[in-house]
Amino acid sequence: MDSKKYDLIVVGTGFASSFFLKKYLEKCKENVKVLVLERGRLYSHMDRLASLRGKSPSYQSDLESHENAVINKNPSKPWVFDVNFGGSSNCWWACTPRLMPNDFQVNSLYGKGQDWPISYNEIESYYCEAEDIMGISGPDVTPFPKSKKYPLPSHILSTVDKKMQAKYGQNWISQPTGRASAAFGKRNACCSSYTCSVCPVDAKFTIENGLKYLYEDPRVELVYGKQVIKLETENNIVKAVVCIATGTNDLSKTQKFEGEVVALGANAIFNAHILLNSGDSNPLTGAGICDQRGFFANMNIDMDNVGGSSALTANGYMQYDGDFRKESASCLIENHNAPMIRNEKGKWRKLARFKFVFEEIPNNDNRIKAGENLLKPVIEYGGHSSYIDAGKKRVVAKMNEIFSPLPVEEIFVDDYYQDTEFHVLSSVRMGTSKENSVVDKSMIHHQFRNLFVLGGSAFPSVSASNPSLTISALSLKSANENF
């Protein structure tokens, strides 16, 4: 086995790791040694674009798929992620609403789920910082309090949004987004392609176009193709990180790297799995894995739906917060500006498409487990909660009322949920003690005090808002408070 020692070892290069690393490098000394272990490789934006244009890079067939990385006991529920440099920033749609203040107190206010050990006010300045780093486009007026303007102007509302906003005001806003409304850094302005998983014009924030320079810092050593298996611990201190070359199965060929401090920034499946492989005996480790759920509704309307300047033009908060959350899930509405048509002469663009995304309460029966194969986590997921179904029922019943500002002719509500919202969350939750959580409010493991467990795995409850901005803000906060 190789043996090296670092001041900090970071696992992963996605949002959680990169924002943590950014703050750490700002605050630490010039002579620190940082090791970053990345499971995948640099699958660049240029190569992704080329692949979509029919010219795949030579290494395409070697890329690891998310399906093969896990043992999913419930294939009807896919868990989607990108294992390469930059993680899910490669495939996200760059929707960056903040959580609302009440999302941090769902148990105190509504008797559901678990409160966060931090308040909205404690994370607010880090939201601002993350938004500045990502170059978020957003409006001046939002339903959540903000102490600073967004760095880029908001995207232009569509004709449909303008009617909705006229009635709902700050509860119908131009979506805050990492899809730039104007050229920003290396990024171009978004032009509503509606293929954001790989943006044709590189308009959305990614780790590659926004924070790749961190990994070129002389203090940082980035190693690709290393799957972290477990941590070696001694007297409740993490001593080393054990990994293997990605794609190999020979466990006699592991590598070990020693570190003073370790930060796990993998997703909620692998953070939990690494801890379980390391002997973490907290019964909550791995428990609660979940995702939001969402469904679409299409509408025929007696007006042309045009003029929006981004892929998702707006967020609606009319069904987001209220006493109804004691019984049914909160819902965030998205206006999807897809270039789709209504197939009727003279009415080609007289339609609208909305998505309704629901919060979830983590259920401890849905779990990540360590199986016989040390390299593949087992995912046991029985399904989403009835709280979500109650939320859908509430929203569907109010559909005509919600969209009363529009000249609606007919509404077609999907009778099914989308398979995934692509948000893997809540398997290593944060809280006030090891009895109710695995990590503390600084994202430090309750038992292993030199171990940070970053990312969406720490979410104690799952709001209807997209999580990546909050993941990034939490990492900034954690590094700022501890270094």
Binding site: R53, C191, T195, V201, N305, G307, P339, M340
Partner: protein
């Protein structure tokens, strides 16, 4: 007499099976033909050149810009053969969505939306099937085309 009975039985069987055979034939049509049939019918009121429809259908059947699976292609072709306005068939809305996807992709690949949906103007296929990866920033409903 026996021959006559057999003839009648065969005739009845043939009559009963004819629609089934027809539907089977329709479902087995090349997807290109299904695309052509849909576009000809749904764009009847627009000034579209038949050769443009033929060219698009040939290209689209090969490139499959919708990413339709094989079973979805068969479903669309079969449904197209039995579909009509007043028959309450299952999956009708799903089929109509796919159908709108086909018509929409064709119109997005023409100058129709660039001309602000002017139905009195001739419509020309631009020769490239609409894709943001081939022609970025060409969403014709966006702010770039409808500045406020």
């Amino acid at each position: 007499m026996t021959n006559r009975r057999n003839f009648i039985k065969l005739s009845i069987a043939a009559t009963a099976l004819a629609p089934v055979a027809y539907l089977g034939y329709q479902a087995m049509l090349p997807f290109q033909k299904t695309i052509q049939n849909i576009l000809i019918k749904d764009l009847a009121g627009l000034k579209v050149k038949s050769e443009d429809i033929d060219k698009f259908a040939a290209q689209a059947a090969q490139e499959n810009p919708w990413g339709f699976s094989g079973s979805k292609v068969k479903f669309i072709s079969f449904y197209n053969s039995i579909h009509n306005q007043w028959l309450p068939l299952p999956f009708k809305y799903k089929y109509e969505q796919y159908r709108a996807d086909i018509v929409g992709r064709f119109l997005l690949s023409t100058d129709f939306f660039i001309n602000k949906m002017n139905e009195s103007k001739d419509i020309t296929y631009i020769g490239i099937i609409y894709s943001p990866y081939k022609t970025p920033c060409s969403n014709p409903f966006s702010a770039a085309y409808y500045p406020s």
